[in-house]
C-alpha cells in the first residue's frame, strides 16, 4: 500500500485553538497506509516545509496530505515542497481544517472529529492520485486587444513596446473611445485630447501594432497561447490610400444624420470623418444612411472625388488571426436616456448628459467651447447638475456607484463657472466620493474658489415651463423643498458596460457580473484576469473607473499578457478528463455537455483534447458508464472521500 504522510498545521492558534491537532495527528497515524503523521505550529513556514521535505525522504513517502488552511492559499506552496523532496507535485493534497473547520466551530471535541474526517478524506483521495506532469503547449507570441479607447491604446502600446505584435480592434471608424470626447480632465484640468492624441498617433504608427478600426471580433476559438480569431472588417467604401482628405465629398453629401462624436448636438454627413484628429484620418461612408448603397443611386461623392477613392462595391472582409492572449477593453456607454424620463433627458433640448456637456465645454465642440443652450444658443445663467442619475438606485436603476460622477460633475460645474463667471451652478448629490490623489482638494476648489452650490438631496422631477426648466428637489440637510428655475440641467448618467460587450463576452466565453460588467477572476487578487486563461480585462469594461485607473489596469493586463507571450511553451493543469475506451459506447452525451468543446467522437468512442479541457468533470457526471473521469478526482476517489466523511 502507498505510504502517505500527514502534516497537521496549528496555524498558531487559528487551528490549534479549536482543533486538537495532536489528536488529529495520532488518529491519522492509525489510518491504513499512513506511514507518518505529525503536527507543527506553522507548516507553511520554512522550518515547516523543511520538516515535510525531511519526512518525505526519511519515511520514503509516496503521498502527502497537509491539513491546514484552504487549498486556495497554500496548495501550490506544499505541492512545490513535495516536488522539492522528489515527489510528483500531484501526490500532495490539502485538507481544509481552518476555513471549513476550526474557524467556524467552537466545540473542540466536535471540531477535532470533523478535522479528522477531513484529513482522512484527503488521505483516501491522495492515495489514488496519479503522478501528473503539466501539459505544455507552444505559444503564439501575438496579442489581440479589443477596444480602441484609452485602455485599449495603453495596453497595445505596453505590449508593442515590449516587442510583441498587437492587433488592436475598434468597432467605430476611429480609435480614441470616450476620452477623446472629453474637454478637460480632473483633477488637473488638462485638455483631454492634448494628452490622448499623442498616444493615438503612437499606437497607429507603431510598427508592432496592426490597427483595425471599423472592425469587430466575430469568433474566437482555441485556448490560452493559441487563440484563433475571426475579425469582421466592415467596408468604409473609401480607399484611404487614395483619399487626399480634400473634404469635397462631405460638401456634396445630401444626407445629414446626428453626429455620434457630439452625441447628436451636431449633425454629420453620410460620408464623414468622425472628428478632426480621428485616426485613421480617413473617411467612412456609413452604409446605414447612404442612398448610393441602396437602389436609389445618389453618387454625388463618387463624382466629386478626384482621386477616385470612393468604391461603392467594397465588401465586408473576414480576417483570421492567431494570437496567444486577448485583452478586452470594450469600455462603457452612458445609461440609456430613455431610462431617465423623470429628468426629461431626450425630451427637453436643454437637459444634457455628462458627455454632451463635455462636448459643449470642448474647444473642438459644436460651440467651440462656449457654453450655450442647445435650444436657443443663449448662455445659461442657472445650471443644475444632478449626480447619481441612474446610479445607486437599486429600485429603479443601477444599484452600483458609477464612481467618477462626483469628480466630473465638480469639474463640469467648475468649467461652467470659468466660462460663465456670473452664472450659478447647483449640484444635487447623495454624497461626495472624492477618493484619489488631489481629488478631495479639487472638489473643495469647486466649492470655495468657484462658489458651486452643493445641495444634498435627490431631484424628484424636471419639467419645462416656458423657456426655463423647473427642477424640483429636496435638500435633505435642511429638509426644505427646493425649486430651481434652471436654464440647463446636466445629468451625471450612470456608466453601463458598452453595448456589444456582452456579445463579446459570449464569444470569448467569459462571464459577466449581474450588472453586465466583465467578471474578474478574483475581486482582490486577480483583478485584471478573467476566469478563462489568456483573457484579460482592462478599463471600464470591468467596472466604472476613471482614466488613471483604466490606464493602470490596462498596463496590468498588458503585463499579464506579456507573462504569457514571453514564454516559449505554456503549461496547462493536467487534471483533465480521461476516457476508458472499454467502457465508452460513444453515445456522445459528454460531447454535448462539455463547455469547452474539448471532447469529440472518433470511431465510436470519445477522445479528449487535453489542452482544451479545464477539468470541470461535467462529462464525468453525465456518463452513464463512468467511462470518462477527471484525473485525480475520479468517481472512485470521491467515493473514497464519501466513505471517509461518514467514518466508513
Amino acid at each position: 500500500m502507498k505510504r502517505t504522510g500527514v502534516f497537521v498545521c496549528h496555524c498558531g492558534i487559528n487551528i490549534a485553538g479549536t482543533v486538537d491537532v495532536k489528536k488529529v495527528a495520532q488518529e491519522l497515524a492509525k489510518q491504513p497506509g499512513v506511514a507518518h503523521a505529525e503536527d507543527y505550529v506553522y507548516m507553511c513556514s520554512d522550518p515547516g516545509q523543511n520538516l515535510i521535505e525531511q519526512a518525505i525522504k526519511d519515511k520514503k513517502l509516496d503521498n502527502v496530505v497537509v491539513a491546514c488552511c484552504s487549498p486556495t492559499l497554500h496548495e501550490t506552496t506544499f505541492r512545490n515542497t513535495a516536488a522539492r523532496a522528489g515527489l510528483n507535485a500531484f501526490r500532495c493534497e490539502i485538507a481544509n481544517i481552518r476555513e471549513q473547520c476550526s474557524w467556524v466551530h467552537k466545540e473542540k471535541a466536535k471540531a477535532t472529529a470533523k478535522a479528522e474526517k477531513l484529513a482522512k478524506s484527503a488521505v483516501r483521495r491522495v492515495r489514488k492520485n496519479e503522478k501528473l506532469e503539466p501539459l505544455s503547449v507552444p505559444v503564439t507570441r501575438r496579442a489581440l486587444v479589443i477596444g480602441g479607447g484609452i485602455s485599449g491604446i495603453q495596453a497595445s502600446l505596453d505590449l508593442a513596446n515590449s516587442g510583441f505584435e498587437v492587433i488592436l480592434v475598434e468597432k467605430s471608424p476611429s480609435i480614441g473611445g470616450h476620452m477623446i470626447q472629453l474637454s478637460e480632465t480632473f483633477p488637473t484640468l488638462d485638455c483631454s485630447q492634448c494628452i490622448l492624441t499623442p498616444k493615438m498617433v503612437e499606437v497607429s504608427k507603431h510598427p508592432k501594432v496592426k490597427l483595425m478600426t471599423y472592425s469587430e471580433v466575430q469568433e474566437v476559438s482555441g485556448y490560452v497561447g493559441n487563440f484563433k480569431v475571426k475579425i469582421l472588417k466592415k467596408p468604409t467604401y473609401v480607399d484611404p490610400s487614395k483619399c487626399t482628405l480634400c473634404d469635397e465629398c462631405t460638401k456634396v453629401c445630401p444626407i445629414v444624420v446626428p453626429n455620434e462624436f457630439d452625441l447628436g448636438l451636431t449633425g454629420r454627413r453620410a460620408i464623414y470623418i468622425p472628428f478632426p484628429q480621428a485616426i485613421p484620418a480617413s473617411y467612412t461612408l456609413d452604409d446605414k444612411n447612404c442612398p448610393s448603397l441602396f437602389p436609389i443611386a445618389c453618387g454625388k461623392c463618387y463624382h466629386v472625388c478626384q482621386p477616385k477613392a470612393i468604391n461603392y462595391d467594397m465588401k465586408p472582409e473576414i480576417i483570421e488571426e492567431e494570437v496567444g492572449a486577448i485583452i478586452v477593453a470594450t469600455g462603457y456607454d452612458l445609461y440609456d436616456k430613455e431610462n431617465m424620463a423623470e429628468y426629461g433627458l431626450g425630451r427637453y433640448p436643454d437637459v444634457l448628459d455628462g458627455l454632451q456637456f463635455e462636448r459643449l465645454c470642448s474647444a473642438s465642440g459644436p460651440t467651440k467651447g462656449q457654453i450655450l443652450r442647445p435650444s436657443d444658443h443663449k448662455e445659461p445663467k442657472e445650471v443644475v447638475f444632478i449626480q447619481c442619475s441612474g446610479s445607486r438606485d437599486p429600485e429603479l436603476h443601477c444599484a452600483y456607484c458609477s464612481k467618477i460622477c462626483c469628480m466630473y460633475t465638480a469639474k463640469h460645474a467648475m468649467l461652467y463657472k470659468h466660462h460663465v463667471p456670473d452664472g450659478q451652478a447647483y449640484i444635487f448629490y447623495i454624497d461626495i466620493r472624492s477618493g484619489g490623489k488631489n481629488y478631495e482638494e479639487f472638489v473643495q476648489r469647486a466649492v470655495e474658489d468657484d462658489g458651486v452650490l452643493y445641495l444634498r438631496g435627490k431631484v424628484s422631477k424636471v419639467f419645462q415651463e416656458g423657456d426655463t426648466l423647473k427642477v424640483w428637489g429636496v435638500d435633505t440637510l435642511t429638509g426644505k423643498k427646493i425649486e430651481i428655475d434652471a436654464d440647463m440641467v446636466v445629468l451625471a448618467m450612470a456608466m453601463r458596460p458598452s453595448k456589444g460587450a456582452e456579445d463579446v463576452a459570449k464569444k470569448l466565453k467569459i462571464s459577466v457580473d449581474k450588472d453586465g460588467f466583465l467578471a474578474e477572476a478574483h475581486p482582490k487578487l486577480r483583478p485584471v484576469e478573467s476566469v478563462t486563461a489568456g483573457l484579460f480585462l482592462a478599463g471600464a469594461a470591468q467596472a466604472p473607473k476613471d482614466i488613471p485607473e483604466a490606464v493602470a489596469q490596462a498596463s496590468g493586463a498588458a503585463s499579464k499578457a506579456i507573462g504569457i507571450l514571453s514564454q516559449d511553451r505554456l503549461f496547462h493543469a493536467p487534471t483533465v478528463a480521461a476516457v476508458n475506451k472499454n467502457l465508452c459506447t460513444g453515445c456522445g452525451m459528454c460531447v454535448s455537455v462539455c463547455p469547452y468543446e474539448a471532447i469529440a467522437l472518433k470511431d465510436g468512442k470519445v477522445e479528449v483534447n487535453e489542452v482544451l479541457c479545464e477539468g470541470c468533470g461535467t462529462c464525468q457526471a453525465t456518463c452513464l458508464r463512468a467511462a470518462i473521469q477527471v484525473k485525480n478526482l475520479t468517481q472512485h476517489q470521491v467515493h473514497e472521500m464519501i466513505l471517509a466523511c461518514l467514518g466508513g
Partner: protein
C-alpha cells in the same frame, strides 16, 4: 404409522410447532412464496408453484460466513457466524423440491461437508404435500425420476382428502412432529387410506408435460460441446438469472468481503447465490472469459444438469418443477432444448 389430520386443525398443529420456525406457502401480492408463519389460521396448502423455491430456507441467498475486524494496534480478529440451530419446519413442500434438497445434499455433503449448509439442513423437517393436480403447467417431474407423490427427502407426506389430510410420517423427525400434534391426529379409517392411495396414484396421470427417452442425452451432450446448436438455442436468451436463481437444484455461490469500514477495519465475508448465466461468473481478471457468450452459458446450464451431474451422481440435476420454463421472459423451454439434444444427429 399413518394418521389423519382434519384440515381445520392444521392451524392448531402449527401452534404446537411454536418451538420451530415454520415456513408455509403464502400469497404476497400475487406471488406465492414460503414465508415464516405468523398467523397459523391463515395458512393454506392450496397453492401453485412458488416463484422462489424453498432452497432459500436451507441455502439462503445471502449468509454471513464470518465477521472480521481490527481495532487500532491489535491484529485482525475473526468471528465465525454459524447459523443458529433452531428447528425449522417447511410445510406443504412439493415433492420435486424435496428431491432437490436431496440433490443439494450431495453437493454440500461428501468428504468436504459445508457446515453452514448442514447446520440448517439438519435443523429442518420437510413436510411434503402430494401434488393431486400439477401446481404448474410445466411440471414434468415424472420424466426426470421424480413424482407428484414422491417421498424422497420428505419427513412427512400429506395427501389432501377433502376435509382432512392423510398424514404419513416417513422418518423419525417426521414422527416426532406428528407426536407433537398429539390428539389432533387420529388413525385413518380403511377407506381413507384407500382414497389417499388413489389420489396419489392418479396424481401421476395429470402432468401435461413430459421429457421422454433421455437416457442417451448425457452421452449426446458430451459430443455436442462445440456444436453451433447452442448458438441457435440461445439466440433469444437475455442472460438474466431467473432460470438458475429460481431453480431448486442450482446451488452455485459467490463469496465476497463486504467492508463496513476501513478504519477501524471492520467487515464481513458473505456468501451469496451466483449463477453461471451471468457473464461475471467465469470472468477472469485478465479479461479472458472462458464462457464469453450466452451460448456457452446455456450449454453450461444444460450440461451441468444433464451431463456433469449425471457423471458424478448418476442422476439428473433437475427435478422437473418447470420454474425455469414458466418464468423465462423469452420462453426458453428446457424440455424442448433437451429434446432437441436427444434428437440431435450426432
Amino acid at each position: 404409522m399413518d394418521n389423519i389430520l382434519p384440515k381445520k386443525d392444521l392451524s392448531r398443529w402449527l401452534e404446537k410447532m411454536a418451538h420451530a420456525a415454520v415456513y408455509a406457502p403464502r400469497l404476497v401480492d400475487d406471488i406465492w412464496s414460503y414465508e415464516i408463519v405468523t398467523d397459523p389460521g391463515s395458512v393454506t396448502l392450496e397453492y401453485p408453484m412458488t416463484a422462489v423455491p424453498a432452497k432459500k430456507i436451507i441455502f439462503p441467498q445471502r449468509e454471513i460466513l464470518f465477521e472480521y475486524g481490527a481495532d487500532g494496534d491489535s491484529g485482525p480478529e475473526i468471528k465465525e457466524r454459524l447459523p443458529e440451530d433452531k428447528p425449522v419446519v417447511i410445510l406443504g413442500l412439493r415433492p420435486c423440491e424435496a428431491r432437490a434438497v436431496i440433490l443439494t445434499d450431495k453437493v454440500f455433503g461428501g468428504e468436504l461437508k459445508d457446515i453452514y449448509y448442514w447446520r440448517r439442513r439438519e435443523a429442518v423437517t420437510l413436510v411434503g404435500l402430494v401434488c393431486a393436480s400439477p401446481p404448474s403447467a410445466n411440471c414434468f417431474c415424472l420424466s426426470v425420476g421424480g413424482s407428484p407423490r414422491s417421498r424422497e427427502g420428505l419427513d412427512i407426506l400429506l395427501t389432501g382428502l377433502g376435509e382432512s389430510y392423510y398424514v404419513q410420517a416417513l422418518t423419525p423427525k417426521g414422527e416426532k412432529l406428528v407426536r407433537e400434534g398429539g390428539a389432533l391426529f387420529r388413525p385413518p379409517q380403511p377407506g381413507e387410506k384407500q382414497s389417499a392411495e388413489t389420489i396419489q396414484a392418479e396424481s401421476e396421470g395429470k402432468l401435461s408435460r413430459e421429457l421422454k427417452d433421455i437416457e442417451d442425452v448425457p452421452r449426446k451432450l458430451k459430443g455436442m460441446f462445440d456444436s453451433p446448436f447452442w448458438d441457435e438455442e440461445s439466440l433469444s436468451c437475455i442472460r438474466c438469472g431467473i432460470c438458475t436463481y429460481l431453480c431448486p437444484t442450482c446451488h452455485c455461490f459467490d463469496i465476497n468481503d463486504e467492508a463496513v469500514s476501513s478504519s477501524p477495519l471492520r467487515g464481513r465475508r458473505v456468501r451469496t447465490w451466483d449463477t453461471c448465466q451471468f457473464p461475471d461468473f467465469t470472468m477472469h481478471s485478465s479479461g479472458h472469459n472462458p464462457r464469453p457468450d450466452k451460448a456457452s452459458r446455456l450449454r453450461q446450464r444444460i450440461n451441468h444438469k444433464f451431463q456433469y451431474f449425471v457423471e458424478t451422481w448418476q442422476c439428473y440435476q433437475c427435478t422437473g418443477c418447470g420454474r425455469c420454463i414458466s418464468l423465462c421472459p423469452v420462453g426458453i423451454d428446457i424440455i424442448k432444448v433437451v429434446e432437441k439434444v436427444r434428437d440431435h444427429a450426432s
